[in-house]
């Protein structure tokens, strides 16, 4: 069965420090991968998506970047965190790009990032 792992669960980082969040998927090949950010009490904002190794599309200009060094690995990074980067970050994968296909998106458990 397919599983998705995301870590760490919580992270407190000082302003100006670097960031690296990792997401890995098991049990499927060539997944479509997504990074979302969720502000408190809000819906999800798509940050990046990837259809394959080394292929990254960015949805909003920001202080963050993403990389996909392996088929089932998706990394969210920043060189210097800002206070506004605080939030709940979610990784997800789907069989079908965008619409999610029959089974929708499968999400990781999320990372709560607090920049202080």
């Amino acid at each position: 069965s397919q599983t998705i792992h995301q870590w760490p669960a919580t992270l407190v980082q000082p302003v100006g420090s670097p960031l690296s969040l990792e997401c890995t998927v098991e049990g499927t090949s060539n997944p479509n991968l997504y990074w979302y950010r969720q502000a408190a009490g809000r819906g999800l904002q798509l940050l990046f998506y990837s259809v394959g190794i080394g292929q990254i599309s960015s949805e909003v200009p920001q202080n963050l970047s993403a990389s996909r060094p392996q088929d089932r690995q998706f990394i969210l990074s920043s060189k210097k965190l800002l206070l506004s980067d605080s939030g709940f970050y979610l990784c997800a994968w789907s069989v079908t790009l965008g619409t999610g296909g029959k089974y929708g998106y499968t999400f990781g458990s999320g990372t709560r990032l607090t920049v202080v």
């Binding site: 009490g41 819906g43 999800l44 998506y49 790009l97 965008g98 619409t99 089974y103």
Partner: protein
Amino acid sequence: SQQGEEDPQALSIQEGENATMNCSYKTSINNLQWYRQNSGRGLVHLILIRSNEREKHSGRLRVTLDTSKKSSSLLITASRAADTASYFCATAPRESNYQLIWGAGTKLIIKP
């Protein structure tokens, strides 16, 4: 931009009662999906309804879709304390094949 708008923003009911949440959207869609999110956790896919479908059932869940009104509803029957969570609708717009558009969610509290 946010297309899905859930209504109500928050709902508190007694265990055993039915809970109904609504979602409205703005553009033509390929499908509409409902997800549940327990506090501080990731989202779990509940049900997907295609634009040519009007109603779908999954266990205690019933979803309807009215494309003429651009709206959907999620009904949870015989609610349980474990149903306490936030519920989100997400639409797959016809003109965009690469992302879902998410609403802000309905926070459902089931009182024992």
